[in-house]
């Protein structure tokens, strides 16, 4: 690994290029690219590296829309080459049809999503509503806390997605501007390291003249049900393969990427804050300072949203009396006016496990509003006084 000071977008573009090139001894790689703020630097980086000859066997499609960007990835992927792209916000919506195609085709495409608020109104700042729209169709979803996580999880995403026990695409998500345009020190993989880490892609159902078939044609109801059930069974294989990917990472690079869900001061905490992406970073910061004040507060970061790491979550929250879930997203019209998408998964997980923790939903950072330590301290303050939960509490209004 080499040390670099760079934005998440540069780090993502670089890692894509290196990982794509790692498949040069097999069928190569390719991407369809289309710019959208705040994703643009990713595709620019890929193109620059390509032009420098860093991608020896690959093709970049300068397409006319996000829909075609993913279309190109699908074409590349069904032919057995490694494929990746990146988008954001309304770009993802325009791409939607092909995003779903990619997972239903069982193609191991990796996509960086820069989480940006959906418009209108025109808002370029961070919110998770774009990627969360695609939570139900078989994409693996990782939400990163910092630029390093992005790099590590792009490498791991290829490893996991391309594994024959999985064969599902991955979204690796970072917050707009907060990471995408923010420089911080990062360890980037060298080409040799990526080559060593990633097995060559061998797509079992790639198109071959010798054994022609039609993929994606008509399926009768029972066929579709059966295939969907296959996906449902196999998406949970991600947990095992994720472990493999962590082990291998540690073995080769000497550090271990965190689990899908991670706790911090959680073991003896009375209050646990659950969050994701960069919010988790700030939460950690606040937890550390509150601990110094003796407040028994801890946190759980949910890094992987799909498949959802329920077992780990249950273990991590343990018997904490109160749980605050911070969502930078909101589903309108949800039951009990509790629209945070993460919190809904938390409710489901805890209820099924028979837990009786008090769970309160907090909506933070909508439309890219800054989530400051103060906001988080307020939340801790609020929940510590709370006797029973109520509807989602919107912070900062």
């Amino acid at each position: 690994m080499i040390s670099e000071l760079c934005t998440a977008n540069y780090a993502g573009g670089y890692t894509f290029a290196i990982c794509g090139n790692a498949n040069r001894k097999a069928r190569g790689c390719g991407t369809g690219i289309y710019p959208i703020t705040p994703q643009t630097e990713i595709v620019e980086t890929v193109v620059q590296l390509f032009d420098k000859g860093k991608i020896e066997k690959g093709r970049i499609f300068h397409v006319e829309s996000e829909h075609s960007a993913m279309g190109a990835c699908i074409g590349i992927s069904v032919e057995g080459a490694r494929s990746f792209t990146a988008t954001s916000s309304n770009g993802a919506l325009y791409m939607a049809e092909n995003i779903v195609s990619a997972s239903l085709f069982r193609l191991p495409i990796v996509m960086q999503i820069v989480n940006r608020t959906l418009g209108p109104e025109w808002n370029i700042w961070s919110e998770q509503g774009d990627s969360l729209m695609f939570r139900d169709w078989g994409w693996i979803q990782i939400y990163c806390e910092n630029n390093q996580e992005l790099v590590d999880h792009i490498i791991m995403a290829f490893y996991i997605s391309e594994n024959h026990k999985v064969l599902l695409p991955s979204m690796v998500c970072v917050d707009a501007f907060i990471l995408s345009h923010t420089m911080m020190p990062v360890m980037l993989p060298t080409q040799e390291e990526a080559d060593e880490y990633l097995p060559l892609l061998d797509l079992p159902h790639r198109l071959k003249h010798e054994k022609p078939f039609t993929i994606g044609g008509l399926a009768l109801p029972r066929v579709t049900a059966s295939h969907r059930y296959d996906m449902e069974k196999e998406i949970y294989n991600v947990f095992d393969v994720y472990k493999e990917a962590q082990d291998r990472f540690e073995e080769l690079f000497g550090r271990r990427p965190e689990d899908p869900a991670i706790g911090h001061y959680h073991e003896d905490a009375e209050i646990i804050l659950i969050s994701s992406s960069t919010v988790s970073s700030t939460v950690r910061n606040v937890v550390d300072s509150l601990r110094k004040k003796g407040i028994k507060v801890g946190m759980v970061k949910i890094k992987m949203f799909r498949p959802f790491p329920t077992e780990q979550l249950i273990k991590l929250v343990g018997n904490a009396e109160k749980i605050a879930v911070l969502d930078r997203n909101f589903a309108l019209g949800a039951p009990n006016k509790i629209g945070g998408i993460f919190v809904q998964e938390v409710f489901n997980s805890l209820w099924f496990a028979g837990s009786r923790n008090l769970v309160q939903s907090y909506i933070v950072g909508i439309g890219g509003m800054d989530v400051t330590p103060n906001v988080i301290e307020d939340i801790v303050d609020d929940i510590s006084k709370r006797k029973r939960p109520e509807s989602s509490i919107w912070k900062g209004l």
Binding site: R27, G28, G30, G32, K57, G58, R59, F61, H62, V63, E64, S65, H67, S68, G71, A72, C73, I74, G75, I76, S77, V78, E79, G80, A81, S83, E97, N98, S101, F105, L207, K208, H209, P212, F213, T214, I215, G216, G217, L218, A219, L220, V223, H227
Partner: protein, 299 residues
């Protein structure tokens, strides 16, 4: 032509209607290119053709792309084949809906990038898969379920649009003229870059014709000037490949198809006018940009 008895691309006993023009087109493409072909097919009749999973009536690998995306999916496939030095053609095979309408932007972009694929539009002038709604390829006067009194607007000049992309090869093909058809597909097969083949594909249920008339109507379309046969190399060599000795009157063509049963005089005049204008335009283009080396090379 060395034609085996069976189609290289399409198995018999597929789900296509009896007398389907698209089936014939696929067979001719197979005759010209053999079976080293892969296809990306968007929503259209041709993606119902293979029947349901796990079966396939295609003898070649096929990806069912999203409606607008066949050309870019095909381009992705071709790129990987090229970087792996693999032979074989990748065809985007789409209907008029996927070409003239929803796929327009994608095709335009693929043409502009000069992707190395053969784009085939089998044009039955209607959204056939959904039961006959108008498309921008539907000719004036034709009844569809969304133009119950006949379409008021004329057909989009898709060839004109594609030619202006300066692609290396664009051609119209008729299943009524197999020699010309197969020669043009072979020509397309020898050229690199984005090749656009526009096939008029008579549709039994939606044109409301007898199944046996498919080929006859396709010929008549050529000889009435409804669908002139020509090819254009690199935007600069126009070659009309079939000049009818005498343009036949439109009446018989319209009479054979019940979809034109409500065409009134003004619509018929508009259709006839468009045909005449198109034909004269074509002659003029051929005069200004006459066949030269490229035409000679591939004819």
């Amino acid at each position: 032509m060395n034609i085996e008895n069976e189609s290289e691309i399409l198995r018999s006993k597929n789900t296509n209607c009896a007398g389907c023009g698209m089936s014939i087109a696929l067979n001719f493409i197979g005759d010209a290119l053999g079976n080293k072909v892969k296809m990306a097919i968007p929503a259209c009749c041709a993606i119902v053709t293979p029947h349901s999973f796990p079966y396939s009536s295609y003898k070649v690998p096929v990806v069912a792309s999203t409606f607008a995306a066949s050309s870019v999916v095909a381009a992705g496939m071709k790129a990987v084949q090229q970087m792996n030095n693999e032979k074989g053609h990748v065809i985007a095979f789409a209907g008029d809906g996927g070409t003239f309408d929803i796929g327009m932007a994608t095709i335009s972009a693929a043409a502009e990038r000069n992707e190395d694929i053969i784009y085939v539009c089998y044009d039955n002038e209607v959204y056939g898969n959904t039961g006959a709604q108008r498309s921008s390829a539907t000719p004036v006067g034709a009844i569809t379920s969304t133009t119950p009194h006949g379409k008021k607007e004329g057909k989009k000049d898709i060839m004109g649009i594609m030619i202006q992309h300066n692609i290396p090869y664009a051609a119209t093909l008729s299943i009524g003229y197999p020699d010309d058809f197969i020669r043009k597909v072979k020509t397309a097969g020898k050229i690199q870059g984005f090749r656009f083949l526009h096939i008029l594909s008579p549709c039994i249920p939606n044109w409301k014709i007898e199944p046996s008339y498919t080929v006859k109507i396709a010929r008549l379309a050529v000889n009435t000037g409804v669908f002139p046969l020509y090819e254009v190399f690199n935007h600069k060599e126009y070659h009309i490949t079939h000049k009818p000795a005498k343009i036949q009157p439109l009446q018989e063509y319209l009479k054979m198809q019940k979809r034109f049963s409500k065409i009134d005089d003004s619509m018929a005049a508009m259709l006839q006018g468009m045909i005449k204008e198109n034909w004269e335009h074509l002659l003029k283009m051929e005069e200004m940009f006459p066949p030269a080396e490229l035409t000679a090379k591939y004819n």
